[in-house]
Symmetry: C2
Subunit: 211 residues, 2 copies
């Protein structure tokens, strides 16, 4: 019972996501949020709790939509190389897509923020993404496709840096063409692979992998 909500919560959340994406957490005020969402402060607080909870929810929405290409690329491609290659190529396209703000929300929205919880939240997402790349590389090391002495940690840090650099470049006005070029150049760092992985070592321990 009670009065029905006069605005759509989902579209309001997407308006908030757009603001956070464009200006970051701290530089986005409640006033600009309510203006973009078309509601008044009490409605915002009733529907989302407070600014930080709204931000967390916007980040989740971002990861489920614009940022979902990352986990998809790592999960769907047959090899780590193809996964990272697709990851970079799609990042180049998403970051320079003019239908939404440039760059990556996870990379940029928490920079220069005083709230330590927000900093930790986004840093956690970045570290998890880097770890996901490393896990995918380790998988191909175990399967024998990549050399046993491959430094998966260094390689993951490298591709994480590439992605974060591409985000910054996009925010500086870099277009799709240049970003795709950056992604292609970044793949030159990929180590030499064994074309037929399971033939290199007898009884590879990568057999049980299902991811």
């Amino acid at each position: 019972m009670g009065r029905t909500r006069a605005f759509d919560r989902d579209t309001a959340l997407e308006r908030a996501l757009d603001e956070f994406w464009r200006h970051g957490y701290e530089a986005t005020s409640i006033a600009t949020l309510t203006a973009a969402m078309g509601i008044n402060p009490p409605s915002l607080y009733a529907a989302f709790g407070d600014k930080r909870k709204l931000f967390t929810e916007a980040v989740r929405r971002y990861q489920e939509t614009h940022g979902a290409f990352s986990t998809r690329a790592l999960a769907e491609e047959p090899t780590a190389r193809e996964a990272v290659e697709r990851l970079l190529r799609e990042a180049a396209e998403v970051y320079s897509d003019a239908t939404h703000p440039p760059g990556c929300l996870i990379v940029s929205a928490g920079v220069n923020t005083t709230d330590p919880q927000v900093i930790a939240e986004l840093r956690g997402h970045r570290e998890r993404a880097k770890q996901a790349i490393r896990d995918r590389i380790d998988h191909d090391i175990r399967s024998g496709r990549l050399p046993r002495d491959t430094d998966s940690g260094g390689l993951a840090a490298y591709y994480a840096a590439i992605i974060q650099g591409m985000s910054t470049q996009a925010c500086d006005g870099c277009g799709r063409t240049d970003l795709v070029s950056v992604a292609a150049l970044a793949m030159r760092a990929w180590p030499e692979e064994h074309p037929d992985p399971d033939a290199t070592r007898s009884g590879s321990d990568g057999l049980g992998c299902t991811a």
Copy 2:
């Protein structure tokens, strides 16, 4: 004549630089600045004008000290490859040096800032740094060391992205070892070179270069 200044302007500027470096332009308030500089607001405004002028002066100080390795590397090394290699290696060391804040002030201090002049100022510095890399590459293309079809713009965007990504990685807690590894991997994208540049083309137009 008049009362003498009770604080050292240079050390106060360096304290301000440290604050801007650590928290960015907007997240650094006049209150934290005056606390770090050991002075009161009127002294700050008398000595530096306002917050934005103090920031601009801090950026200049940064470029003359911690950030000077960039222009030095591009100017002092004999080839573009060695210049960029040194640029990345020294960036890895400076960005992870624990004696000062992590990362690069030029890269991070203007993110999520509402003042468009501050955004434009730092973006200008980044674009100029990228252009300097491109110029150094073009120089080696003209001298014949690098292939004529080298995409200097894409290559410069790539190394600019690497540097910006290394800065973000450093801010996320990445240590010197990992950053050096990222820098080394990034050099794998460098194109094939002619070992003896002037022998490849008769009367190379790179002869008159002095930089």
